[in-house]
């Protein structure tokens, strides 16, 4: 019998380590022949901590939202066949949502122990590199990737075979294979999850890529904010070396390849290839003009190929199942599957992997369970600070590179932040501009100053000080920043503003001309009043008001002095009779 506790960063944050310790204590105390193991994130973050119990027939029962004090009971259920309470195990509905997905990049995350290479080997791990090294030439490898139709999963969607081929064509040596694990898009965490749950899968992808382009050195550039991912990668690299999958003369084929990890130091712009290379070289991460492309002149001016984590996670699968099997999934131009981080105002947040081409509605409502508290769906933000907000009327848009780009958003790395009627779209645009303004490296004036000016205008609007002409000024700035920026950070920074202006212009206008925030989020634009009919004159509001803006007595209905009111909303929260209105 095996008990497996999901321990990705998200599971640990939800208390999985404490659950694991409690189970361990229980097992030692009762001296049971049960093995306790760990695994990565299975994607159902809303059910964390998740514990899988495998009986002697390897039948799995999944327990959800486990707390440490449930440990004893769980062992009872596992050993004595006691029937679990319905709420303790995964529901049929959640199983169904899982079944709608197709796991390729996430195939092992949440099922194998990421800290044990034997677990990876047991699921045919390193079989793909064996096949590649013993039966295929580099050009055949590239051809197979071309057949698969795999495109970069980091954001731009550039065909992977093309990049590999460009690096392969270079005569100069040495060449470098780099894995971009600088997942900076706030709201996306699939790369972290894959690294934590299946590090050997990425190492195998790197090996295949390295062989294809002719590199013997590979580098993982990992975000410093992901300490667990770094730790598990270190363990995996060490184990792969011990087993002879890394180092000299791999599998006796004469192919040499080794890997090392470079921890990033916190700069969003380092997700950009040339900035990443500058950072690898120990410099400030500032992009430079392309061409020359990294495939020509990259790390230390040598041919360098850079792929995103999720892209590489697909590679071993492609070589085990064939490029055609991968291409059979998805749409005409967007093949295979894509992982999305479904978050925000969603019932079932977590990681989902779906074949390309499913509609946004299917992802958000069928798999994600719909909107939190059954509020109205307003928009979904895709592509992070480089992307845009897709409104309700476009919910039937298929999820593929081309269709998403047509809406004004981008596929990006796969963040899907769902927003409901209480999210103000102007404030959302302000949030993203605040981010890009901070993360702009400062090289291009349009990006450095343009984002600052745009943020000032957006802040002015959300503060209720918007002026006539602000919208037009924003639009003009958007164009200029797009044109005048060297890299994609500046080139796409206006997207959140442009898409909200395109689909939610009325919200901007309400802020500026009516001094109202339709979503009741921008505090400066709110007016709190006490309803004469509903007020029972209890005075709780007045006692809780931090600025003594409320007056009244047990004989007189309470009123708010608008000049003194700081719009903190305390009165509305404390009123037992719901007599405080906000508009």
């Amino acid at each position: 019998m095996r008990i497996v506790v999901g321990q990705g960063s998200c599971g640990i944050a939800a208390g999985a380590t404490k659950v694991s310790t409690a189970l361990e204590n229980e097992i030692t105390q009762r001296n049971l022949p049960v093995s306790l193991e760990l695994t990565g994130c299975c994607g159902t973050c809303y059910l964390e901590p998740v514990v899988d119990i495998y009986d002697e027939h390897n039948e799995k029962t999944t327990f959800v939202m486990v707390t440490p004090d449930m440990a004893g009971e769980l062992i009872d259920i596992a050993l004595e066949g006691k029937t679990p309470v319905e709420t303790q195990i995964i529901s049929a509905e959640d199983m169904e949502a899982q079944a709608k997905q197709k796991k390729v990049a996430l195939r092992n995350a949440g099922s194998i122990n990421p800290e044990d290479i034997n677990d990876y080997l047991a699921v045919d791990g390193y079989k793909a590199i064996e096949k590649v090294l013993t039966t295929m030439s580099p050009t055949e490898v590239i051809e197979e990737i071309k057949i698969s139709g795999l495109r970069g999963r980091g954001g731009a969607g550039f065909p992977t075979w093309f990049k590999w081929n460009a690096a392969y064509q270079q005569k100069e040596s040495p060449k470098y294979m780099v894995c971009n694990a600088d997942e900076g898009d706030p709201g996306a965490f699939m790369d972290r999850s894959v690294l934590e749950g299946d590090p050997h899968g990425i190492i195998e992808g790197m090996l295949i890529g390295g062989y294809a382009i002719g590199a013997s050195e590979g580098i993982f550039y990992v975000r410093a904010e992901y300490p667990l991912a770094i730790k598990r990668l270190e363990i995996a690299i060490e184990q792969a070396r011990e087993k002879g999958f890394l180092g000299k003369n791999i599998l006796g084929t004469g192919f040499d390849f080794d890997l090392w990890i470079k921890a990033g130091a916190g700069a969003f712009v380092c997700g950009e290839e040339t900035a990443l290379i500058a950072s690898l070289e120990g410099e400030r991460g500032m992009p430079r003009l392309k061409p020359p492309f990294p495939a020509q002149k990259g790390y230390w001016q040598k041919p360098t190929n850079i792929n995103n984590v999720e892209t590489l996670a697909n590679v071993p699968w492609i070589f085990r199942n064939g490029g055609a099997a991968f291409a059979a999934m998805g749409t005409e131009l967007s093949k295979g599957t894509k992982v999305f981080a479904l978050t925000g105002k969603i019932k079932k947040g977590g990681l989902v992997e779906i074949p390309m081409g499913l509609s946004l509605r299917e992802v958000i409502f069928d798999i994600g369970g719909g909107i939190l508290d059954d509020k109205a769906f307003k928009a979904v933000q895709m592509g992070g600070p480089s992307g845009g907000c897709i409104p309700a009327q476009l919910l039937d848009t298929p999820v593929d590179y081309e269709s998403i780009t047509k809406t004004g958003a981008i596929m990006g790395s796969g963040g899907m932040v769902v927003m409901d009627e209480t999210t103000c779209m102007v404030e959302m645009a302000r949030f993203f501009l605040d981010f890009t303004r901070k993360e702009s490296c400062g090289k291009c004036i349009h990006c450095r100053m343009g984002t600052k000016r745009m943020l000032e205008i957006l802040t002015r609007i959300t503060d209720g000080k918007g002026k006539e002409g602000d919208i037009e000024l924003l639009e003009e700035l958007c164009e200029k920043v797009k044109e005048g920026s060297l890299c994609a950070l500046g080139g796409t920074a206006p997207n959140p503003v442009l898409t909200t202006l395109q689909y939610f212009r009325d919200e901007y206008e309400a802020h500026i001309y009516e001094h109202k925030c339709p979503s009741h989020q921008c505090t400066h634009l709110l007016t709190y009043t006490i309803s004469e009919e509903a007020c029972r004159k209890c005075g709780i509001c007045a006692r809780n008001c931090p600025t003594d803006a409320i007056s009244g007595s047990k004989d007189v209905v309470y009123v708010i002095d608008q000049d003194l009111c700081i719009k903190c909303g305390k009165c509305k929260t404390v009123c037992p009779f719901k007599a405080v209105d906000v508009d």
Partner: protein, 181 residues
């Protein structure tokens, strides 16, 4: 990128810290001849000292042969590097999109009110430092904050206050014990 005209939280602390620079010798021995290692050296230095005082930056520059402006440039470019000491407990408050949508700013207000500091500052008793960070990657559990490596999920303003109070209480108990023993 923000220009603070030398006054903001990112500006190098002009006071010389007087830390023991010899602690850095093994790190420099290992990395100084390896090109492209400046970020790694600074990361190791920050692990040793908790922050990067100006004398450490100067020392790294003189030992590696990298010009001081380039060392400062790198140290101020990346958000991971701190040029001022931090408190015993570092609060990293996630400001990612999911956390933002689920009310991170209300959590920030509560923390700032509870500790009487703003983003980037340290409490007078040197117990807490608040740092707003871009994304911790725990989006499904938003809003979240990480305190000394431990993640606290699904926060509400009250829950955040309670966590801070408990840490303070626990810390007082521990330091009290140390003082008496």
């Amino acid at each position: 990128m923000q220009c603070c005209k030398g006054q903001g939280p990112q500006a190098p602390d002009p006071t010389v810290s007087g830390v023991d620079l010899s602690l850095l010798i093994p790190v420099l021995e290992k990395y100084k001849s390896k090109p492209g290692s400046l970020i790694t050296i600074l990361q190791k230095a920050q692990d040793l000292y908790g922050y990067l005082p100006i004398d450490v930056l100067d020392y790294v520059a003189s030992e590696t042969g990298i010009k001081p402006p380039n060392v400062y440039g790198v140290a101020t470019f990346y958000t991971q590097f701190r040029l001022k000491p931090i408190g015993k407990y570092l609060i990293m408050l996630c400001m990612g999109t999911a956390c933002h949508v689920n009310g991170a700013s209300a959590i920030e207000d509560a923390i700032c009110d509870e500790l009487k500091i703003v983003d980037g500052e340290t409490t007078e008793d040197n117990l807490f430092t608040l740092n707003n960070v871009a994304c911790l990657g725990c989006c499904s559990l938003s809003p979240v904050m990480m305190i000394n490596g431990e993640t606290h999920a699904k926060l509400t303003p009250d829950k955040a206050r309670k966590i801070l109070r408990e840490i303070r209480k626990q810390d007082q108990l521990e330091t009290g014990k140390e003082a008496t023993s």
